[in-house]
């Protein structure tokens, strides 16, 4: 599965399970919000990313939100 900021590129190149990241200079977390909050964001995204591996997908799918 692919965690990335620029989802359109991920779709163009053909990733099938996609989780949108925060931004190019900090895909997993947001250091401008402090270390604690940044980590919480990261853990949330990693959890969602791993969970996409447990569900069947028929076509390219962007997992915009926790599910």
């Amino acid at each position: 599965m692919h965690v990335c900021t620029v989802v359109p590129i991920s779709l163009t190149i053909g990733a099938n399970r996609i989780v949108p990241a925060i931004g190019i200079p900090y895909p997993l977390g947001n250091p401008t919000l402090g270390e604690k909050k940044s980590y919480e964001i990261r853990e949330g995204l990693v959890r969602r990313a791993l969970k996409t591996l447990t569900v069947p997908v028929e076509e390219q799918t962007v997992f915009e939100e926790d599910f």
Partner: protein, 297 residues
Amino acid sequence: MICGDNYFGSHIESGVVDEILELIRPLSPDAFVAGPAFNAGRYGVACGTMAKAVQDALSIPVVSGMYRENPGVDMFRKDIYIIETKDSSADMRNAAPKMAKLLKKLVNGEEVLGPKEEGYLEKGIRVNYFNERRGSERAVELLVRKIKGEETYTDYPMPVIDHVAPAPPLKDLSKAKIALITSGGVVPQGNPDHIESSSATKWGKYSIAGMDHADKKDFMTIHGGYDRAFITEDPDLCIPVDALRKLEKEGVIGKLTDYFITTTGTGTATNSSKRFAEEYIPLLKEDGVDAVLMVST
């Protein structure tokens, strides 16, 4: 050399390519022609396969001829010269002289011009040249034509990018071994394998064994395509070792591999990326990896 399409198609795995190569080799040819296959699909694939095999094994010029929609075209256009023909053998009269002319040039080492001039199907190799006019001037003229509904052109036809079918889901995430891969350019301090900051030609596999997070003492980023200040300070922003370790402890995942795999994504050729994957996938398989978390910046 005559070989039936069906025989060729059904004996690829049992070595028909080598069989034919060994028939050709003793003749010590200076060049090799396969086809033209026109729109015959299996024949096209056979022509392409043999032409490429001869080119690789004997290092001599090869030429084939096919109709644009022959499946052999997409399979082999990047590797060999394929003269564009019409869809039936009625075109032999046109196709054969073009193939002969191009082959002669190749044998004599003369300059091969572009696909339009020589009549071959574009190999998809991007070659530089100096146009008579600068790009902006051509662009203004092209825009006017487009607005007026006149005939237009493009310097670069948009490619159709091949996709793969989604992988089936994991049976049990809590028993799965997960590998971490990034194109964010995170490497050990000092960049021991000299991975490039842009247009990478290399990838690296580095240890995260025993680490509960990715520390800036151990890792740096060499990616030339973004402001590196944040990831330099906290590499977990790109390689989330801290979060994965926590989930490993909690039993959400079975195991995180003892290493991560990394390269620089910016400007890196898609064919290089493809090669990287072909190189590291066997290692992942051997290591029993069930799934991969890929992070791009």
